[in-house]
């Protein structure tokens, strides 16, 4: 059988889909190297958003009239697209949230509150984004459970040999791990950790906010019990995200937010809950955003997640090579083959704010800060780093501009 090589992604061509690149920043073309914080939007997604408002806008699951039915159909079609995107068995397990943060808080509260107590242990990692750290730390403290973190090594990779020690210390009930670290780009061995978590009888929470934009997610093999994503990081609009959870777990949980739509029957003495997923979707949801989220899924799927992953991978390797030539640059994180399109670095003697500020004048947008991962920064012994992150519209030339900009930073500040 002939094997046809998959066509590679043409980033230069895809850039034309993104209206944001049509303008100049400080008189220069925009080199947007901060996609890990939020991605830019293709015209296709923007059109879906506007089109919904112009042709289908009504409240979902409320009216008996044509418009409401049409809005509901589009909203539910988007839910099914998200289901397909993560290869979940059923759309009723897909709950629309505001973002990944809300999805993770939903798990911490609605699962944690009823299932954690003294003698139980909650495990996160030192790499986690605050969104996958603080809610679980908080709920552990409130319920009297112990809170632990899987440590990382000097290259920012999880030290799995620490797992047995953690298991010996207490009754592990919940394990929360990010699939890809937003700070270092580390791709974590989530399948392995999930298998371990299940051996302990724990539920496995996977923060896929940073992974979903960049690689195919398959819930049939990942080993997750809960998974959180945000549309805005994957070419979708801000204001919507999703939680996927195993139906049996979601069924057994109390709701998180209360109000309209999530109820079955309200009586003075007692209220009963709506079926999944509506039990967890109180109030008017982000409807147009959810529909455009579905369009973003279509857009990414048409390009192909494998092609996106490979493209980013090449860019990360190229950036690490170019930065590696400069002895006044320190890069953090694992080797290129075990990281996504994210490169964190510092310029010797120069604070990241100053680096980012000077680069801004060159039209280059990078992130400077702690990347919502202060425990990780403490471990690396820095307050902050610079971070350049790439996406399907990033081209090599932008990395060359970054390197040239860093030379200018050196010139001005040292």
């Amino acid at each position: 059988m002939a094997v046809t090589a998959k066509p590679k992604l043409d980033a230069q061509k895809l850039r034309a889909d993104f209206p944001i690149f049509e303008q100049l920043v400080h008189g220069k073309p925009l080199a947007y190297l901060d996609s890990a914080v939020t991605s830019q939007k293709p015209r296709y997604v923007l059109d879906a958003l506007l089109n919904f408002y112009e042709t289908s806008y009504g409240n979902v699951h409320r009216g008996v009239y044509w418009l409401s039915e049409r809005a509901t159909a589009e909203f539910e079609a988007a839910r099914d697209k998200v289901r397909g995107f993560v290869n979940a068995p059923s759309a009723k397990e897909v709950i629309f949230t505001r973002n990944a943060t809300e999805a993770l808080n939903l798990v911490a509260y609605a699962w944690g509150w009823d299932n954690l107590g003294p003698g139980d242990t909650v495990v996160v990692t030192e790499l986690e984004h605050h969104a996958n750290f603080v809610p679980f730390q908080f709920i552990a403290q409130r319920t009297g459970a112990t809170f632990k973190a899987i440590p990382i090594d000097g290259a920012g990779e999880l030290q799995l040999d620490a797992l047995d020690g953690l298991a010996a210390e207490g009754n592990i009930k919940l394990v929360a791990v990010g699939l890809i670290s937003n700070s270092l780009g580390t791709i974590n061995p989530v399948e392995k950790i999930a298998a371990w978590a299940h051996e302990q009888g724990a539920v496995m929470v996977v923060d896929a906010a940073q992974a979903a934009p960049h690689k195919a997610i398959d819930l049939q093999t990942l080993g997750a019990d809960f998974l959180a994503i945000s549309a805005h990081k994957m070419c979708g609009p801000s204001g919507v995200g999703a939680l996927w959870g195993k139906a049996e777990l979601l069924e057994a949980m109390s709701p998180f937010n209360m109000g309209g739509q999530m109820i079955r029957q309200v009586r003075m003495e007692k209220t009963t809950w709506n079926e999944l997923p509506y039990k967890f979707e109180a109030g008017t949801p982000p409807m147009a955003e959810a529909v455009a989220f579905g369009a973003a899924v279509d857009y990414l799927t048409a390009i192909g997640l494998d092609a996106i992953e490979e493209h980013e991978h090449e860019l990360a390797a190229y950036a690490l090579d170019r930065l590696g030539e400069l002895d006044w640059i320190t890069t953090y994180g694992p080797p290129a083959d075990r990281r996504a399109g994210i490169v964190s670095f510092n310029v010797e003697g120069v604070h990241p704010h100053d680096v980012a500020q000077i680069l801004d004048w060159e039209g280059i947008a990078i992130r400077a800060g702690h990347h919502c991962a202060q425990p990780l920064m403490a471990k690396l012994g820095v307050a902050a780093t610079n971070r350049a992150s790439f996406y399907l519209y990033t081209v090599r030339d932008e990395i060359d501009r970054l390197v040239a900009g860093l030379h200018k930073v050196r010139k001005v500040l040292t």
């Binding site: 604070h351 990241p352 704010h353 100053d354 500020q357 000077i358 004048w361 400077a368 800060g369 702690h370 202060q374 920064m377 307050a383 902050a384 001005v412 500040l413």
Partner: protein, 143 residues
Amino acid sequence: MSEFDQLYREVILDHYKNPRGHGVIEGADAEADGQNPLCGDEVSIYVSFGEDDTIEDVKFSGRGCAISQASTSMLMEMVKGRSAHEVATMSKDDLLEEVGIPLTPIRLKCALLGLWTLKVALHKGKGTPLPEEAAGLDDLSLN
């Protein structure tokens, strides 16, 4: 001058590269720590008082960007020898005028971290009033 050249103008770079009042006062009469939650930067301010309530010596340590280091360095020069009560009511504009560059709201936080932290130190040492902006610094909670 372009906005860029203004932001990193000579005097800012001079204070950044040769900060005045950088260091620690052992056995200071008052000290306070401030953090910028945005970037994780930290500054510690140390004050020793002379007669009455004059600021006899003042120093800072910590880490930060050029803007925060330079403006805190300028602040040290501005307040040394002045009365704690006077400095406690000093407006942020006095410092910003000295810094003399256009700042976005985010960079404003960098530029003013030293000032708010100094005001917390003065409050701890001399009971001077605290500005709203000091809330959260030095684990202080204001109502």
